[in-house]
């Protein structure tokens, strides 16, 4: 199993999770989970269905209450309410489409930056960044699936986040869109943003991430660089072998 890196000399990580536990009734969804994401780093969170990946995102976003442990962003406790995430520099995309039906493409992005100066400019820049500048006036429902996912990404990017949480960003995308997505994520990280992503698309994760954390039955079973994790027998048994089988 790969080892956790020593953090004694590193700056305060953008996201630090320690001893995180989440219980749903009698079920332990997460047990003693720890992970860190530094500024400019892309960390992938993988694991079989039901491993607790989205629960971990929900805990960071204050949608579920941890039973144990701490979640800190830049050394301070993460916001306790979901509506304070944006103010704390945290942006998240959701599984699936994650767009607001009934609103236009531009409005879908605008809604995340209403309290910012030059909100229209911000929203348009974010849409240009994901290649949708020309579609800003269209109803979001009129866009094909991959472009709707780009709208959700643009909405997260428009806030200028310091921590970006992406929940299955490559889900349902073709190879060309996955490549575009990888490029965008690397660009965002190069700008200093910490990125934590949950994904089943193993090749995408291994290609875009600096480090990978593997969850199984709510516990971290491996963490390290992609090539280290890929070679880890426990990971192969728990997840990667299954993914190849599928």
């Amino acid at each position: 199993m790969a080892t956790h890196g020593a953090a004694t000399e590193r700056p305060v990580p953008r996201l630090r999770i320690q001893g995180l536990g989440v219980r749903f009734g009698g079920l332990d969804a997460l047990v003693d989970v720890g992970l860190e994401v530094g500024d400019g780093e892309v960390v992938g969170l993988i694991g079989p269905n039901g491993a607790g990946k989205t629960t971990l995102f929900n805990a960071v976003c204050a949608l579920v209450r941890p039973s144990t442990g701490t979640i800190e962003t830049a050394g301070v406790p993460a916001p306790g309410r979901p509506d304070r995430l944006a103010a704390a520099g945290i942006a998240r995309t959701l599984q699936g489409l994650g767009v607001l039906p009934g609103l236009s493409v531009l409005e879908n992005v605008l809604v995340s930056v209403l309290d910012r100066p030059d909100r229209n400019g911000r929203a348009r820049v974010a849409l240009e960044r994901v290649g949708l500048g020309a579609r800003s006036g269209d109803p979001v429902g009129a866009l094909p699936y991959p472009e709707q996912k780009r709208v959700a990404l643009a909405r997260a990017l428009a806030t200028g986040p310091s921590l970006l949480l992406l929940d299955e960003p490559a889900g349902g995308l073709g190879p060309a869109d996955v490549l575009d997505l990888s490029t965008t994520i690397r660009e965002v990280a190069a700008g200093g943003c910490a990125v934590l992503l949950v994904e089943h698309h193993v090749d995408f994760v291994m290609g875009v991430c600096d480090r990978v954390v593997v969850l199984d039955f709510g516990r971290v079973i491996a963490t390290g660089r992609p090539e280290e994790v890929r070679r880890d027998p426990a990971v192969e048994e728990a997840y990667l072998g299954l993914a190849v089988d599928r």
């Binding site: 976003c61 949608l63 979901p82 509506d83 304070r84 995430l85 944006a86 103010a87 998240r92 959701l94 994650g98 607001l100 039906p101 009934g102 609103l103 236009s104 409005e107 605008l110 809604v111 995340s112 209403l114 309290d115 109803p139 429902g141 009129a142 909405r155």
Partner: protein, 290 residues
């Protein structure tokens, strides 16, 4: 032909009031997925206070402002005090019906069951144009208020940050919360707006009916509910166009076939729309257009 023009004109005047009240139902349905069965009772309660202020001050306009303010306050109180206990749409309906019983009982106890006349700020006799009776000055006033209010609501929802947040909170509350939208506050604001619009609609309708009594809003609620279903419960445009459609239909059927047949005409239209487009004429249009 003269008769047709007259019936068309009065139908439009009635229709804009139906549209306003239907708009009040649509505003709440969109944000909470609850049909506000208490809308009429809340509006009538506000109108009783409005008429009391008009009696006291001698000013119709003071009463109109009070109707809007009290309507909005009742919307706030019912949402905060009653509707937040609703765990699902069915319990919301039950709570709304309970609210109707409380408000109608209270207004009945305090004001009595008898109907009382409502004042009008302008003449309500039709103006004769070329020998044909058309709209009265009061009808024109009602149409002007309805058009102004509808345009104002459209501007609020389409052009302002507040409106965008209200729409986002209505369409996808969980996601909106993650984006920093104060969803609960937007919902309360929706109730305040809807109840104020409903109170104004009833105040405008009462002079044309038999007067104000604790049940005076019930017929308007039935018509407006039909309008909202015909137009599409999610669609503000549907409420406006459906209101005009039903207003003109009721007027024409009443004029040519008799008042007793008018409800059947509305029922027939309702059945036809439900058969052809079960979600309403404008369902989904707004979701695609915006």
């Amino acid at each position: 032909m003269d008769r047709f023009v007259f019936l068309l004109a009065t139908g439009i005047a009635d229709g804009v009031v139906f549209a306003l009240f239907a708009l009040s139902l649509v505003l709440i349905w969109r944000s909470t997925r609850i049909i506000n069965f208490a809308a009429a009772a809340m509006a009538v309660t506000a109108c009783y206070l409005a008429l009391a202020v008009t009696d006291l001050t001698g000013s119709y306009w003071a009463g109109l402002i009070i109707a809007v303010l009290v309507g909005g306050t009742l919307g706030w109180a019912v949402e905060r005090g009653v509707m937040r206990a609703a765990r699902d749409p069915l319990s919301g309906v039950i709570l709304a019906i309970g609210t109707v019983m409380v408000l109608q009982a209270l207004t009945g106890i305090l004001a009595g069951p008898q109907s009382r006349p409502a004042p009008v700020p302008f003449g309500d006799r039709p103006v004769i144009v070329g020998g044909v009776p058309t709209l009265s000055p009061y009808d024109l006033f009602v149409i002007a208020v309805a058009v102004t209010l509808t345009a104002g609501l459209h501007t609020l929802f389409a052009r302002t940050s507040l409106g965008l947040q209200m729409r986002a909170a209505a369409f996808a509350p969980e996601m909106s919360r993650l984006l920093g939208v104060p969803v609960a506050r937007m919902r309360t604001l929706g109730w305040i707006l809807a109840a104020a619009v409903g109170a104004l609609a009833v105040l405008l309708a009462v002079p044309g009916e038999l007067g104000l009594d604790p049940h005076a809003g019930d017929p308007l609620f039935v018509s407006a509910f039909a309008v909202a279903v015909i137009g599409g419960l999610d669609s503000a445009e549907g409420a406006v166009i459906g209101g005009l459609l039903v207003g003109v239909l009721v007027s024409l059927v009443t004029g040519y076939l008799g008042a007793a047949v008018a409800p059947l005409g509305v029922l027939a239209l309702l059945a036809l729309v439900l058969l052809v487009r079960p979600a309403g004429l404008f369902a989904g249009v707004e979701a695609r257009r915006v």
